[in-house]
């Protein structure tokens, strides 16, 4: 075997080894779960804010409300899986209670999904008053879950990061 080939083979071997090591690595860092959860919640918040903007300013985009509501419905369905891995340490406002009462947590996520579904249906039916009312119901469903499973703003990591301390 020529030395050049040996070097090439060795290089290739290392490359394959490294590649497979990354693929087989079973544990992404815990903060990755936090980042994912927060991105999912931001997506829901974004759709809520978008509907809010259409309604509060009377934008001629009412036809978009149903799509935003469906987005929320679909995102809501991802919540239980997003919180399957328990990560409570780090820059997160998730309360440990999520993993102490997983059935209730899931039930509240489903309740929120149902309210989003109802909002999509009402938006398609086009009754502005019913849509406004249902937005409140949907916001209430968000709040019901946040009350039990999200740290209150007093204890938010955002405030701690701001220098307040505990």
């Amino acid at each position: 075997m020529k030395p050049r080939c040996t070097a090439l083979c060795l290089f290739a071997g290392i490359a394959i080894g490294a590649g497979s090591a990354r693929a087989a690595d079973p544990a992404p860092p815990p903060e990755a779960s936090i980042k994912y959860r927060q991105a999912l919640m931001s997506a829901i918040g974004g759709d809520m804010a978008a509907i809010g903007n259409i309604l509060k300013y009377g934008l001629p985009l009412r036809q978009n409300i149903a799509t935003h509501a469906e987005n929320i419905e679909r995102s809501a369905a991802l919540i239980p899986s997003a919180f399957e891995t328990k990560v409570v340490d780090g820059l997160t406002d998730a309360k440990p209670a999520i993993w102490e009462k997983p059935a209730d947590f899931k039930k509240k996520a489903e309740a929120m999904r149902d309210q989003a579904k109802k909002l999509a249906e009402l938006a398609k039916a086009g009754d502005p008053e019913a849509v406004g009312k249902q937005m409140k119901a949907l916001g209430g469903a968000c709040g019901d879950c946040h009350d039990d499973y999200r740290k209150p703003k007093e204890e938010s990591y955002k405030r701690r990061a701001g220098g307040g301390g505990d």
Binding site: I44, G45, G46, D47, M48, A49, A50, G52, L55, K56, Y57, G132, M135, K136, G139, G140, C142, G143, H146, D147, P152, K153, E154, E155, R159, G162, G163, G164, G165, D166
Partner: protein
Amino acid sequence: MRRAARAALAIAFLLEGAARADGAADRIARGRAVLEASGGCTCHTDFEGGGEPLAGGRPLATPFGVFYSTNITPDLETGIGRFGDADFLRAMREGRAPDGSAYFPVFPYTSFTGMSDDDLLALKAYLFSLPPVRRANRPPDAWPPFGWRISAAAWQWLHFAPTRFEADPARDATWNRGAYLATAVAHCGECHTPRGPTGALDRSRWLAGSEQGPEGQLAPNLTPDRETGIGDWTHADRVWFLQTGGKPDGDEAQDLMREVIEHGYQHVPAADLDAIAFYLESLAPVRNKLERKR
């Protein structure tokens, strides 16, 4: 002839009775609107303890100890059923019980003192239209001497004088309506204005937020400061928030704010919420970054 006169008299009597009933119903309806503009008086409902609406007993944590809200249903023994109009006005405007003793300032008479007699008596009519609930009031679990009535009297002597809301002639009717609602009826300042060491509102930082909100909650800065207040909210954002609890970023109101929107502000006519929003926008921005007290 005589019969006709008697019939006319009877009809007149009936009409007057009907008119009186109508007047009373109107007043009760107006009183309900006043209650809603005040945020629904939810401090007087012990939601967590499963208490009846407005029957009191809700623990209110303050830096001076835990106070329990009172029963404001018209029960004769445990509620306010024996309050006459003058008693009610004195309680709300002067912070005094019918026996003359001072109420603890955890009861926000410091704001309600600005309310009109007309609104207050309508509120009383509404409260008296509700079913009485028997539930005895509970004395405070406060550090001595803060739990003593005499301390409340001393506090009033130091920090409180009954003051009616005075309209500012330099401002328009909408601003004045908003100022009246926000400062007196909705009593925003009681949670959202920082307090000094003796618990008096620091009026130089009016609505600039407080770390010592009720139940240990943080009450955000409502002034239009862009960095520490809600200066980045639009007028529509403010009105929408009071109607739905939805914040511009898609999050929703929490805790006590959620409660007062649900039981109160969301029912307030849009014109009044508009007025409150205009008033808030007219405030001088105050820089006050809230940090959790250790």
